[in-house]
């Protein structure tokens, strides 16, 4: 069963507009959520995160919103730039019994920013 879901495989947005990427999760034990960005032929790079006790975190053009009651988070990119074209992965963290953090990833959304 997919505990973290990104239901949109792809998204196309005009340069300068807002990009909104969505993510849903099912496990209430997740305590931290992260977004990673991945270019082709490179590993994922960390973008932004949010603790489960918060509902918003902002870093420059990137804002992540968390709605715990709906088990939903979203990533907003404003304004969108051509360099934002990449695959975005949502991830949720859970702490195992051994104390180590593990991440559960969504399927990814390919964002294309059109000039």
């Amino acid at each position: 069963d997919q505990q973290v879901k990104q239901n949109s495989p792809s998204l196309s947005v005009q340069e300068g507009r807002i990009s909104i990427l969505n993510c849903d999760y099912t496990n209430s034990m997740f305590d931290y959520f992260l977004w990673y960005k991945k270019y082709p032929a490179e590993g994922p790079t960390f973008l932004i995160s949010i603790s489960s006790i918060k509902d918003k975190n902002e870093d420059g053009r990137f804002t992540v919103f968390l709605n715990k009651s709906a088990k939903h988070l979203s990533l907003h990119i404003v304004p969108s730039q051509p360099g934002d074209s990449a695959v975005y992965f949502c991830a949720a963290q859970v702490i195992g019994i051994e104390g180590a953090q593990k991440l559960v990833f969504g399927q990814g959304t390919r964002l294309t920013i059109n000039p």
């Binding site: 990104q6 032929a41 590993g43 963290q93 051994e98 104390g99 180590a100 593990k102 399927q107």
Partner: protein, 114 residues
């Protein structure tokens, strides 16, 4: 800057071969992870390790094993490679208490099993 280095970018092996994928990190991280990335499935955790000689199964450990003899090095082993193990393999590392410090990834090894 954190550096996670995977030994090969591309690898082609034959069915039944024993395959070793190597990963080295230079930030003294306790945790190390192996994932595979497949289209439409995202990243799935194969194995992870939170200390030298310690290993824990992830979500899809079947057909794989791992080795962590030194803190900086984490190896993924395909005991007898099969075509359904053709995939992109990603290694990551992080500090043990890492709420504010995310996992850092290598650039991946694209493995093809013929």
């Amino acid at each position: 800057d954190v550096k996670v280095t995977q030994s090969s970018r591309y690898l082609v092996k034959r069915t039944g071969e024993k395959v070793f994928l190597e990963c080295v990190q230079d930030m003294d991280h306790e945790n190390m992870f192996w994932y595979r990335q497949d289209p439409g499935l995202g990243l799935r955790l194969i194995y992870f390790s939170y200390d030298v000689k310690m290993k824990e199964k992830g979500d899809i450990p079947e057909g794989y094993s791992v080795s962590r003899e030194k803190k900086e090095r984490f190896s993924l082993i395909l005991e007898s490679a099969s075509t359904n193990q053709t995939s992109m393999y990603l290694c990551a590392s992080s500090f043990f208490d890492s709420h504010n410090q995310p996992q850092h990834f290598g650039d991946g090894t694209r493995l093809s099993i013929l």
